[in-house]
Symmetry: C2
Subunit: 196 residues, 2 copies
């Protein structure tokens, strides 16, 4: 019996990501994915029973990769603010490197309903943000007023910047986002009456 290899699975998932990202789900056929991955249809079916299974595997792999990357990049420093910047920067970089991922997630959410595959990852990202806030509080570096709302504002804001923000990205985008998140988007000025 031939064994399954991670290398081959990855190649098929990469091919599937490209096709799902550029065509409508129902238009993508298993044979197209096999052809794109340059494997036989039989090989593809040995790894994945159907398109839905492939799609779930794709989101699972993206989730595992993203969380591993966050783990690694935030571990590079002990300081809360650079850790928060590493968190923000890694998420932006990951989505930029996987340009179809948002559409894949959104489609899964629309068609699968409330318990779609990415839901746990979203909750984990909010949790990680709140852990970073807790660390900063413990270090007395900064204290976040309302961590629950703040984590949503941070991740929701990042989502919009990733999806609709201009490219190429400013080099210091993660720093700007963290600074705006912690200290605000406004330059402080003396309060004057508005003259209308």
């Amino acid at each position: 019996m031939r064994t399954k290899t991670p290398f081959l699975a990855d190649r098929m998932l990469d091919a599937a990501a490209r096709l799902f990202g550029t065509q409508r789900f129902h238009e993508v056929r298993m044979e197209d994915i096999a052809a794109e991955a340059d494997v036989g249809k039989g090989t593809l079916y040995r790894y994945f029973n159907d398109k839905e299974e492939l799609y779930s595997a794709l989101l699972d792999r993206a989730s595992t990769q993203l969380l591993a990357r966050l783990q690694k990049e935030t571990a590079a420093t002990d300081e809360p603010r650079p850790r928060l910047r590493a968190f923000v920067g890694a998420i932006i970089a990951f989505f930029d490197e996987h340009p179809h991922l948002f559409d894949l997630i959104q489609r899964a959410e629309v068609l699968r309903g409330p318990n779609f595959p990415w839901k746990k990852t979203r909750e984990r990202l909010l949790q990680l943000a709140k852990e970073l806030f807790d660390e900063a509080r413990a270090c007395e570096e900064f204290v976040i007023h309302d961590p629950e709302t703040a984590a949503l504002l941070l991740l929701g804001g990042m989502r919009a910047v990733i999806r609709f923000g201009k490219r190429p990205r400013p080099r210091d985008l993660a720093r700007r986002i963290v600074d705006a998140f912690l200290e605000g988007n406004a330059l402080k000025m003396p309060q004057l009456e508005c003259r209308n």
Copy 2:
């Protein structure tokens, strides 16, 4: 010939919103919508040729209503900060009053592709936010560093709070979001070395 009345159209759109919001699009039939609206099927078809047309009309109506409400509520004051709070509060209230709207928008985006019906509304909201920033700058009340990114952070952050934030909403949610947006989420503290 019987004429079309806005009242009847609204009743059918309300019925459609309820059904599209709780069932999968392909599961909702025109006759279900007619029954839910308590009109004959012939009447429904006199207003809308098919489900897709009804769906677009639903998003168009929501867009018109939201923009009219923003116009009205931000006009209640001349001061930039209260105007920004009114903008934030009106968007949150509108989506809370139309609990299915996010799903309707998301489905449209997934199934219709890049030029889906809500796209112009999204761009208009970002534009309105930037106009409020410009006013505040003109009044010398506050100056937003990077208005393009800031508008995305504000609207994306609000989106996450609306979708995933706890309910009932805190009474002062709009104020909290605007304060966090302008002055940051962090309490200022002396910078200390992190002791790990």
